[in-house]
Symmetry: C3
Subunit: 266 residues, 3 copies
């Protein structure tokens, strides 16, 4: 695989303090011309599933050969492993804590490795701290992968197991698909884990959330300001919005709420 020189970073670090900045510093120490892109740093603290959801849904919008680093890591400094994956012409790095579990369930042909910590010394990476592997392990390795100066196979041990995802797959029945709200965006839109292709067998689907039935339309402008609508969003999953307002506040629900799509007659 030809690296693109692009690295994305997804974390729950927020924007207070220099934590993401010093990761970029370490990357630039090893690869001055890296293009580093923040995917988001507002993953809820210690909640890997949302990071995995966004990485899985976003990576294809980057050049082939991009390195995607995702760090939501309550187990930092303990025995947990670090996964390095080559899949669909992209590299991925994350703690083995379920973050990438759902992507791996669907990643036929992915090459999956556990970081061999003895490789750190070969790459001249100093002994890491116990509490900031983003800076001390992920950043320098991402830089080397992005620069093409190392490869997953050179620093990892092949594996075919991983910690599973924390959120269940949607349940599919003939007349309904039941899933979860995975995240709420800055507009208050509820974004679910129900993939559009799961709806194919439903006739005249309607979305149910917070005790309401909401029509499935194509874009926000299809209803008047102040009305609810559902749609298959630009990442291919079912989303609920309140036109020109905030659905999460209006409905009083958020991350983790049950959401279903049902055939109209049920």
């Amino acid at each position: 695989m030809q690296p693109s020189g692009v690295i994305t970073i997804t974390t729950d670090f927020g924007h207070k303090g220099p934590f993401v900045g010093v990761m970029k510093g370490v990357i630039l120490q090893r690869y001055r011309d890296a293009q580093v892109v923040d995917l988001t740093h507002e993953i809820p603290a210690q909640w890997p599933p949302e990071a995995g959801f966004w990485v899985r849904r976003s990576y294809r919008y980057f050049p082939p050969g991009t390195v995607h680093v995702a760090i939501v890591d309550p187990g930092v400094g303990t025995e947990r492993d670090i996964l390095i994956i080559e899949h669909d012409h992209h590299y991925f790095m994350a703690p083995d804590n379920g973050l990438l579990g759902r992507m791996l369930d669907h990643a036929d042909g992915a090459l999956i490795f556990r970081l061999d910590f003895s490789a750190l010394e070969r790459l001249n990476i100093p002994v890491p701290s116990n509490t900031f592997h983003g800076r001390d392990i992920f950043a320098p390795i991402a830089a080397e992968l992005a620069a093409g100066t190392t490869t997953p196979v050179a620093i990892g041990i092949a594996t075919d197991t991983w910690i599973p995802a924390w959120v269940d797959e949607p349940e599919v029945r003939p007349d309904a698909v039941s899933g979860s709200v995975m995240t709420v965006d800055g507009f208050g839109n509820l974004i679910s884990n129900i993939d559009a292709h799961l709806l194919e067998s439903l006739s005249q689907p309607v979305v149910q959330v917070a005790g309401r039935k909401i029509p499935l339309l194509t874009t926000y402008g299809n209803v008047k300001p102040g009305e609810y609508l559902a749609l298959v969003n630009s990442f291919g999953v079912v989303e609920v919005a309140l036109a020109e307002s905030n659905a999460a506040e209006g409905l009083g629900v958020g991350r983790g709420a049950p959401i279903s799509v049902v055939a109209k007659e049920t």
Copy 2:
């Protein structure tokens, strides 16, 4: 016009989720060496005037040939047009919803185009989603403009009309200029749409806002901590501050509040 390879992005997307990040990914897919700069992503949701205000006041601080993309787009996926503008040695792209209305009112000689959606296919841009034109239309076109591989005239249809700005121009009388608070910055300073040159005929101008008269001075350090002051700020408009504190909280007003500058004797 010689492109600089620099692209700025201004949105109301906030920092939750990968929305700005995937726009950058799409840019880098087409132009690996773009320099992409975030102007701000904290425009109030669905409020184009503030985005237009900041783009108009900020663009000149970027290299000539920069592409400025601004997306506050409640009408995404409906029939609204996309404007592509060449003005004062910079490119601008925004939905035709008033966002750039005020800049265009003052942009003598600007070349203004409506995006010809049939150009997407010629640029190998996939069929866009209904809900995320930032990623699917703005980002790839900005990349092509910044790389110099297309031009506004090649992908647009010339026009001389646009949706007007949502906020009125300040009203100018011999003894007073009346405008609006356009935005509040992170320090709580109230930033108005009253341009310094409108004050030229006023003798000993004083600022009125929230029922108070506030002296017009030159910098924050001219008063003691805890005192109000007004000044012509570094973007050329009247601003009200509370030295070493938060004027918006102190005065209990914010975006949209009326603000005037009056001759002292009135």
Copy 3:
């Protein structure tokens, strides 16, 4: 010193408005291929010590020859000086208001200059505004330093004095070290100014904060979720955390709170 072409920016500007963005614009006007990294823009408004703390603790993670710009500047537009420093193979720029005071106390061999404002004209920098020196002075000079087109000695006047740091050094006694909480990170961890090397003479050290004694361990995973722990963090200072939760909220304390490390028997 060979510049790296990398510039870091640390401010209290927040993310509302285009303030950081236009600084980057001005940098790119002078140096198109600069790598500009945000350290953080969420320093508490008008509180230089936190900016200085993070710059001092972070700079070594960037390539040698990086320019670190830090702006928390209540005195902008008044007579305050601007310091330009060469230290440990890095450049630093900040208002002379105590921001870099603590770093300079420990910076043996640093070359310290006050900006000679007459140098602005020589560098073709326009007359600055009174209120935004980040854009009008710091950004263009940082660009020139990073590009290697000027040097501190060419634009500054050597000095060996500076405004002192606003927060006291920790007090070291044989059986206790007493310091302050300097900042709280996005997880709610309390980060102190107590450097690990100050603890060397303490036997079985225990941390005291908010009326509690907290054990000093090595990583978050050493306790169960919901338990407090202290550790020497990845920046070399004492930190207090609440495993998988928020210590600042749990303890009801924050920035400025007293914190000590004591020998166990006291």
